[in-house]
Symmetry: C2
Subunit: 241 residues, 2 copies
């Protein structure tokens, strides 16, 4: 039996008995997936709540889909936040990266503004990231949408307070493999991935003063998005969350 | 200082003092990278040998580049072959997968023909894979090009002899996280990744008879290419190769 497809429906907190899908979600249901009245789907609110939904009405152009909701469930997130703070790769690679790390289990993303970043942060691409992450959640049946944070300079990452409750891993070929790294007991694991040109001397100065665990991911030189995926994967594996 | 760009030059075995780049490689050097006579690059033969090369001549249309070679080096591959046998994802995702796993350190790839494969194997795409893998090697400064094998049915994977010298991991949410998996002492680690629709009942029957270690990569449902990247990453990390 094929698993039921997932759709995004906000405001499920109060566990309503019905809901309505509009815009992209309803069009996707009616046109791309060609689902019909009586069909069943799963809806999720991006905050851990899911429900089984039966399609009770589809408007003429598929712009509005009415649902009856049952079988609510709520999953709580893992005990450690897995926060990727990575320099931005170029173009399409941003979406590839966010798609994969969301599937694997990243909980937070901060674009890292580095001296040698190859891609600039743009509001337009950030708007698309939300959609990419939502699609990755549906694909991987993951009920929490990652939190996308404002871009930060490296210095700002170490200047936010809350350092006590967190551990920082840095993708750095001089470190050990993640299996040799100590178990993470903090509330948040920050995964720093620099740009392909590497950190600048002044950024390295900042990093050498910070309490950071260098982690090796391969013997080769990884592109930013590959390092990010390998890093999130190693973190999820180590944490078992 | 920027690292020197890599170019592919076969037949470096006898460590010749000069070599010639033609076709894609010479055009890429002369036109895309706009390198000039006197410039320096690294050449690699895909079999572990690299040399430093000085550009001594570029033909008028950039179709032929003559090089003087010095500073030969040979790196031997890791002690365990990391062999990905994965169902094919659709379209562009094939290239994304092969690019990333090559960067991270996969040594062999076999397309797995499964009952529920979403994409068919095509000779045309296989021809492109070689190029994708070569580009990933250049990018990640990796002197060995992965071996691309003929597509196989799942049954054929377990019918090739040499079972004694190998360990098989299967991406399967019922397994343990890779950190809990035993150390690999075999010569070859085969990483099985099924199609998004999962294995069929008869394929599961085959798998249950085989000596296989199920490995969990995430609590979510991963797309084929994401599972493949996470799997290769976990293998390289565990092996430390």
């Amino acid at each position: 039996m094929k698993p039921l497809p997932w759709f995004y429906a906000p405001n499920l907190d109060a566990r309503p008995e019905s809901a309505v899908l509009v815009a992209d979600e309803s069009r996707h249901l009616a046109r791309s997936r060609r689902l019909r009245i009586g069909g069943e789907i799963i809806v999720f609110d991006g905050l851990g709540t899911t429900a089984k939904a039966k399609i009770v009405d589809i408007s003429e152009r598929g712009t509005r889909v009415a649902l009856d909701l049952t079988a609510y469930a709520h999953q709580i997130e893992g005990r450690v936040r897995v926060h990727l703070a990575a320099a931005l790769p170029k173009g399409d690679r941003q979406a590839v990266m966010l798609d994969m790390v969301t599937q694997i289990g990243m909980t937070d993303f901060t674009p890292l503004l580095c001296d040698r970043s190859v891609a600039k942060f743009s509001i337009r691409s950030a708007a698309r990231w939300q959609k990419t992450c939502l699609e990755a959640c549906k694909q991987s049946r993951r009920p929490w949408v990652p939190r996308l944070h404002q871009p930060k300079l490296l210095a700002e990452m170490f200047n936010t307070g809350g350092e006590a409750g967190r551990v920082v891993w840095l993708a750095d070929s001089r470190g050990g493999y993640p299996t040799a790294v100590q178990k993470v007991t903090a509330d948040e694991l920050i995964l720093l991935v620099g740009p392909e040109g590497g950190f600048s001397p002044s950024e390295w100065e900042l990093l050498s003063d910070a309490d950071i665990v260098p982690v090796t991911l391969a013997k080769t030189v990884l592109r930013t998005e590959t390092a990010a995926v390998a890093m999130v994967s190693a973190a999820i594996t180590m944490l078992g969350v």
